[in-house]
Subunit: 188 residues, 4 copies
Amino acid sequence: MTEKFDVAMLVGSLRQNSYSGRVANALIKLAPPELSLKILPIGGLPFYNQDLEAAPPAEWVAFRQAIAATSGVLFVTPEYNRSVPGVLKNAIDVASRPGKSSVFNGKPAAVVSQSPGLLGGFGANHHLRQSLVSMNMPAMQAPEAYISRSGTLFDDSGALTNQTTAAFLTTFLQAFAAWIALITKPKG
Amino acid sequence: MTEKFDVAMLVGSLRQNSYSGRVANALIKLAPPELSLKILPIGGLPFYNQDLEAAPPAEWVAFRQAIAATSGVLFVTPEYNRSVPGVLKNAIDVASRPGKSSVFNGKPAAVVSQSPGLLGGFGANHHLRQSLVSMNMPAMQAPEAYISRSGTLFDDSGALTNQTTAAFLTTFLQAFAAWIALITKPKG
Amino acid sequence: MTEKFDVAMLVGSLRQNSYSGRVANALIKLAPPELSLKILPIGGLPFYNQDLEAAPPAEWVAFRQAIAATSGVLFVTPEYNRSVPGVLKNAIDVASRPGKSSVFNGKPAAVVSQSPGLLGGFGANHHLRQSLVSMNMPAMQAPEAYISRSGTLFDDSGALTNQTTAAFLTTFLQAFAAWIALITKPKG
Amino acid sequence: MTEKFDVAMLVGSLRQNSYSGRVANALIKLAPPELSLKILPIGGLPFYNQDLEAAPPAEWVAFRQAIAATSGVLFVTPEYNRSVPGVLKNAIDVASRPGKSSVFNGKPAAVVSQSPGLLGGFGANHHLRQSLVSMNMPAMQAPEAYISRSGTLFDDSGALTNQTTAAFLTTFLQAFAAWIALITKPKG
């Protein structure tokens, strides 16, 4: 029987019908048997403020518990001003604290960035990766996922219709499943 | 008579008595006659969501107007996970939209990062700078401001007591005043 | 009479008929009357090694003098491994030393990156910009120049045939001329 | 019997008695039984130029073969102008080509940066990490290694005398040995 990995997806856009949300939904449909992908909402998380740790907001607690229960984290993000949207960075800040007990620590991660233009969210993608280092999240390196011209890939209902992208995302998810298996498998 | 430039300071930490807040307060006190520095609060800004632009939240509108009325922007920030805190990135995302009428466009900017450790918030500093490019904010390059060991620079009341840092910040602000004058002075 | 600015172009590829070289040649042809662009060769510069500063290689000395004589620097670069090619970074390292007398100090700069793919050399572009900060080179922020699909823009002789790109580069150079004028014009 | 991993160290400074070289020598002495560290010289590699691939320089061929024979790569680097020294970036460019047969592909990697100042080469460290992504080199995330005030850590002979640094580097190498074992161990 195949082992099944639960993966949390954090989506960097709050817009309804956002391209990032559409990519995330496509990923759910394309997931191989080894992966179970689920979007964790981040729009209701209060801004990180260390003063609140004495009595952390219920939203923080629930979010951290949800992350803790997963085997990996998949970031799906647009690029805002050549970097990660504030709402997504805030979710990262919340999940990564308090320091000694970060629920991100050691969890395998992967990044998909997208943009309606050509650049595919490269700036957001790599800013995110810089954060993964200090949070000790082993990051899948290849394949890199920069989804360009995201506005042309979906039909009106939001379903992915571009077959090249579908094939690429399938390959990406297979690689991520293998990455999670590699990072989390028992030693020797 | 000296021209006076109003400068908005955006502070990346919400914590009371935060080191970034202390640095910002020190900057206010050290400002040369050409600069009037004021902290614009960012903790009450709803997360950026393009769907809301049809009827933008009052907090967004007021924040954008406050930025529009200034001659420059000074970012004072800690580093969260080797990047910009979500709350500060969100303020940037809000101010930069909608695209064609960004209140940041053309405004001279400078960055001060700080950390309690040695690294001085380098990662946050340069991620911020990458955003300044696409927002067309002419960025002061020198002096770079990475404030290390920020926990050792203030007394219990939060006043800056380290004289080397005070001298450095004074120089920094003089350079920023000159930078604003250079960027905004009339042609010919 | 229009003031004329001499600008040094540093090209990040050594390949004959490289796309970066073609972009640089197109820029020369498209330059407005205020700019005189010239490529400074960098392939013959010995690797930077501080031990050699006691008796700097003739190539270093000549290169530094050539930079010193210009009014601005324009970087034209491909992306190697998501960053600046070694040969271009070495030229930067050479020009920026020794520290106290860097010929780059204060010189206005701009960056054009290109790639045969979609991403337009974004990674190289922004890594370069990070270096510009510490070298105190005021960097033009807008327009950003990420030239995508560079393999489709030229004819067999290497001449730029894509009119959209030609128009964009013309605008870019006009903006750079204005940027140099702004940064270097005498105070008050 | 313990498996032994051969690791190539690429050192970013050509200066005799450089701090990076001293760190590399200290790493050799501190290596755990599972690691055999060796410095691969990079100062004699001709600049990367794709035109030369038809008949690649002997130095390139030997360097690529030496990398191919290792089980991992450890980068030890100073920071030049907030980024990777040209000489080290060139070595990376050489090893990573030609694309389809890169000897870096899949090799586990780690990064140590150092500076005589406080910042510990953060800028070089993360620029390097951005390159590791596209070269598909699984990068060890923790512990991060930013060696500050490197000028104070060694005696006149170049031997590491700072015990805190020695203990840290020992931990770092143990983690790297475990990382190589994890990444390279046979599936199932």
